[in-house]
Symmetry: C2
Subunit: 197 residues, 2 copies
DNA sequence: GTCTATACACCGATAGAC
DNA sequence: GTCTATCGGTGTATAGAC
């Protein structure tokens, strides 16, 4: 039971190899540009110029490919958040990461898929909890440093910020703008009061 | 070109009839419980105990059925919002409608589908803009009545509230709870200050 | 490692009878 | 109004050759 022969006994390609990454790249692009309905083994193969059969050499099922795509994406996102947290203006940079997050379309595709794919839901939960933890730590430290207090706890503030950041990108892509500028101004003011202007 | 013979010339069943509603009911249930992948004409027919062919008597395409399902749902939701707005505690009741909104699963399925189905995206935009308008009007009135001012405009507040309400239900269904109670307390305090405790 | 070939199921949509 | 029957296409996944 090594990297190339997983539980089923069927021969499998090595995770992390060039083709493996290319398939995740393809899956991500298809999901973003065409949506879940177009995410098929044939389409992924076509996207990266290989035969359909090869997809099943690297992934046991399409669900597994989808889960791996999300995992790679969320690990990159968590790395960006940790990097932002270690910067000179951690809260502002974390906000920027959230606002310039992975395309809102991609997020909604994964959210919808998570209903059907249990393993994906588990990964989504893990990502949300980890990113919130990072945000809460950064907020707590920054507020202490600036001697600032708020009506709501750092955890509540993190939830509010994540929610509205996602809404701003999602609605923005749909062409909705009511209230958007007002919220951005509010966030900017708050960051100024934290000394991260 | 009457109700029973639309553009294509193919004979069509009347919108609003018993079967028509039954099909939307079925589509809604399938979307909620099994996700977009299971929403097929055969599955809808099976769900309500008719033959597959009949689905295409009432709807020209599956996309049309999906759009109609969302339209009926969003019209019901707007009616609930308007009713809440006319009550004694409009802002609190609107918040309750948003929190006990249509299953968050259903929302994410429609959001994902809206990428592929242009007509659905149009309906989603209309719904979001209308519901925000109702919320802003209610908030503006209530704040005036209570003589309360906030750092953010009513439009910004409405966007914040909608975003976090959706996040609370979505994350709640996934089993995530960090920061949730804090936000609920904050909202309760705010409603108290509006005289809607 | 990568391929050809293929089994098998299900999908959307339509023709035309009753 | 509702049905039977069906076309043409596409999906997941596997067997086994090179």
């Amino acid at each position: 039971m090594d990297a190339t022969t997983q539980q089923s006994g069927r021969r499998m390609g090595p995770p992390g190899s060039e083709n493996w990454h290319a398939m995740l790249d393809g899956a991500e692009a298809i999901l973003r540009d065409e949506g879940h309905a177009a995410l098929t083994s044939r389409r992924v193969a076509e996207q990266i110029g290989v035969k359909q059969r090869l997809v099943y050499y690297y992934f046991r099922t399409m669900d597994e490919l989808i889960i791996e795509t999300f995992k790679r994406l969320s690990e990159r996102e968590l790395a960006r958040l940790n990097q932002a947290r270690a910067s000179a203006k951690p809260v502002r940079e974390i906000w920027d990461v959230c606002i310039h997050t992975t395309d809102a379309r991609l997020v909604s595709q994964f959210m919808a898929l998570a209903h059907r794919i249990e393993g994906l839901a588990k990964e989504v939960v893990h990502f949300v909890e980890e990113s919130r933890r990072i945000q809460v730590e950064a907020l707590t430290e920054a507020m202490e440093r600036a001697g600032k207090t708020t009506r709501v706890t750092p955890a509540g503030l993190a939830l509010l910020a994540t929610s509205v950041a996602l809404a701003l990108t999602r609605e923005g892509q749909l062409g909705i703008s009511a209230g958007h500028e007002d919220v951005r101004v509010l966030v900017d003011e708050f960051l100024g009061e934290l000394g991260e202007g």
